[in-house]
Subunit: 162 residues, 6 copies
Amino acid sequence: MTVAICPGSFDPPTNGHVDVIQRAARHFERVVVSVSVNPAKTPMLTPEERVALLSEVLGHMDNVQVEAYEGLLVDLARERGAGVIVKGLRALSDVEREIQMAQMNAGLYEGVDTFFVTTDPRWSFVSSSGVKEVAAYGGDVSALVPDPVNRLLETRYKGGSR
Amino acid sequence: MTVAICPGSFDPPTNGHVDVIQRAARHFERVVVSVSVNPAKTPMLTPEERVALLSEVLGHMDNVQVEAYEGLLVDLARERGAGVIVKGLRALSDVEREIQMAQMNAGLYEGVDTFFVTTDPRWSFVSSSGVKEVAAYGGDVSALVPDPVNRLLETRYKGGSR
Amino acid sequence: MTVAICPGSFDPPTNGHVDVIQRAARHFERVVVSVSVNPAKTPMLTPEERVALLSEVLGHMDNVQVEAYEGLLVDLARERGAGVIVKGLRALSDVEREIQMAQMNAGLYEGVDTFFVTTDPRWSFVSSSGVKEVAAYGGDVSALVPDPVNRLLETRYKGGSR
Amino acid sequence: MTVAICPGSFDPPTNGHVDVIQRAARHFERVVVSVSVNPAKTPMLTPEERVALLSEVLGHMDNVQVEAYEGLLVDLARERGAGVIVKGLRALSDVEREIQMAQMNAGLYEGVDTFFVTTDPRWSFVSSSGVKEVAAYGGDVSALVPDPVNRLLETRYKGGSR
Amino acid sequence: MTVAICPGSFDPPTNGHVDVIQRAARHFERVVVSVSVNPAKTPMLTPEERVALLSEVLGHMDNVQVEAYEGLLVDLARERGAGVIVKGLRALSDVEREIQMAQMNAGLYEGVDTFFVTTDPRWSFVSSSGVKEVAAYGGDVSALVPDPVNRLLETRYKGGSR
Amino acid sequence: MTVAICPGSFDPPTNGHVDVIQRAARHFERVVVSVSVNPAKTPMLTPEERVALLSEVLGHMDNVQVEAYEGLLVDLARERGAGVIVKGLRALSDVEREIQMAQMNAGLYEGVDTFFVTTDPRWSFVSSSGVKEVAAYGGDVSALVPDPVNRLLETRYKGGSR
């Protein structure tokens, strides 16, 4: 049985993230969605909020589980018996950094390979930081993120009275 | 009448920025130069200083106006009746991010298209951050920025007594 | 009045090409679609076929005209009084070459600027060569090209009996 | 059971190709190595030679089969019940084209996803065309290709008497 | 006599850095390794620690000297009579920024050229920030950095009691 | 003494090529300009014509010699005692291929390193193929190539007196 990890900040989760996870879940027996906890950054959402949102959005997929993780990705892979890391392939400037991380991870844990998957072209321009920027100024991001994420962003940025 | 917006941080304006604005003003009836105000960043120059510098440098072009703006670029486009956003095309790693923003903006406001224009090769390596770094150590940037910008940088970094 | 040229091989025209031309026609008074004739290449379609297809597809736009052209693009720009060349922005590896051509053209004719416009993300992966390759093996390209192009490809590659 | 296709020209197979196929075979139940037959190109090796070389090199892997194929990759995927295409991730300029092909294939056959995997850094600079160029001038490529490929190249380019 | 400068943050030095410096020392009479001091950043190691580590690692090379420097790189080049800056060529997204800096430096000091050299493919994925991230979580980076650097990282992140 | 090789097709030589060679000649004791002879291609100029043009243009530099070469670049490096290959750094899509070649060459001959140097931004968009295309249609390339090259192109493509 091949276990795949889909790691990310998911701050917040976007339709692009969900697309990547769905593609992984189509082809691998089990998928662990790992919400990275990075004490050095100040995210918009707490790890708990991000896990809750992803669990709600992905709840219908039986072979997908969501968890927060602080530490080295390869250590999580070892613990979960995961042989594969799946990431979305988006901006070229990201690709370079992603390849470097993939090869560093392969050096740290020989049992793991990183697979990059392209998303639907509709999501190729969607990033968490872009979504946050637009939402912060009251822009409509309902076409870019899952419904629960959209509702949370509206509450946060527009106030409950709107 | 086609109105074009030239958005940017312009912290400080460079010869590359001026080149892009001139090309936009050549081909569109009206050009709005929009100095983006981002409360999350700590710029070297205040929005007012940047507007003043650009107004001085671009004053001879009748169809160009300069203003500071805080908010979504597409909202400014709607307010000003602008159908076009014009940006310079420089580093490839920027291009990717720019394309993502362009497509996100097109999704937010169907009436707007982003056009990228190449600058004179002489300015292809000039960036505001590079200019700031060089000027901060007393380097000569007079060939890279308009005169009023150069004078302000000299005053700021070298002291009035020089 | 600003005249824009949309140059290309259009062998065959795709939905991505049409998207670029429509965006140019939205913002410039007149658009000249220039089908490049390159004696050194052996295209699938004759220049006449490509002009005919584009004329049929673009016929509803009053400010667009289609013509074949052999020669330097900047010479066509001079003849037509065009100050702008509009091209689609797609693959990054293309961008580099396109920027080089844009700057070479600007050096040859100072009056002309090249603007790059992003297409709808749906067409970001569509290229004439990809369409040809798929169609040659009987693949369905009806979602990627205008109807008249699809009909011609079917006739050419699948036999007249369909 | 997830079947993966590893497509390529393999003209000739390199250590980089073998690395990609091994990684695919680690994580997917069955791997079909598909030697693409393109009548428009004149390869160095016939499809039969390439299939024979790959079969010899990969013979020890029970879940890998090698075959020649002429046609659309997505048609082969449908025929073999393959839900995944696995490709190596190498040059950035290739990546762009690969992403375009991946998204075109996803449009042609919704059931298929393309995964890109990074190879060992040692092979990141090895390409079939580079190998051919070096071997043609008598250069030593034994560190870059599997043994059977090296022997065939030596016979072909250096004469049987060496 | 040609003097070359190898500038960098070296926070910490990696095997990739050492590789670049060795290649420079092979081809130029004297090499100045310049540890950049940037008051705006908070590095992991003090400039003194970085100079000490590099001096220990590079001590066997007679034509290499290490020093800390705060200021414009071109001013250091002028002071040391250096006509060449040597940098490693790694990620493409870095390349763009590096080219911009190279051309800005060439504009500031006509006597200086920047040469980029490729490292051994084994180090192509190694970056100081990646090393820091892995080491901070107790990952093993002994294959990626010189021994003295590894010992210091172990002391710093693991504590003497482990 | 460090000998550097500047390899290329030089079909025809451009101002960008001359710029790269001049920078190499500034920093290395001897420079061998190697005109690559590739029987598989049909160049515009014979190897003899290219050597003659480069010799005329570079004649004033005492430490530069020009020669035609057919074979592996690393074999030429060995024969000439060259430890360095110097190439211009231009389009990003080229960079990738250049890095692959550099690392393949380093694998074939451990004694050789490839250094990439950026040219003056004015030449960043100039390529031999672009020059040929423009000259073939009678365009003016006198600002892009050395005088002897310009004269030869005019004779070849324009000549009323032919």
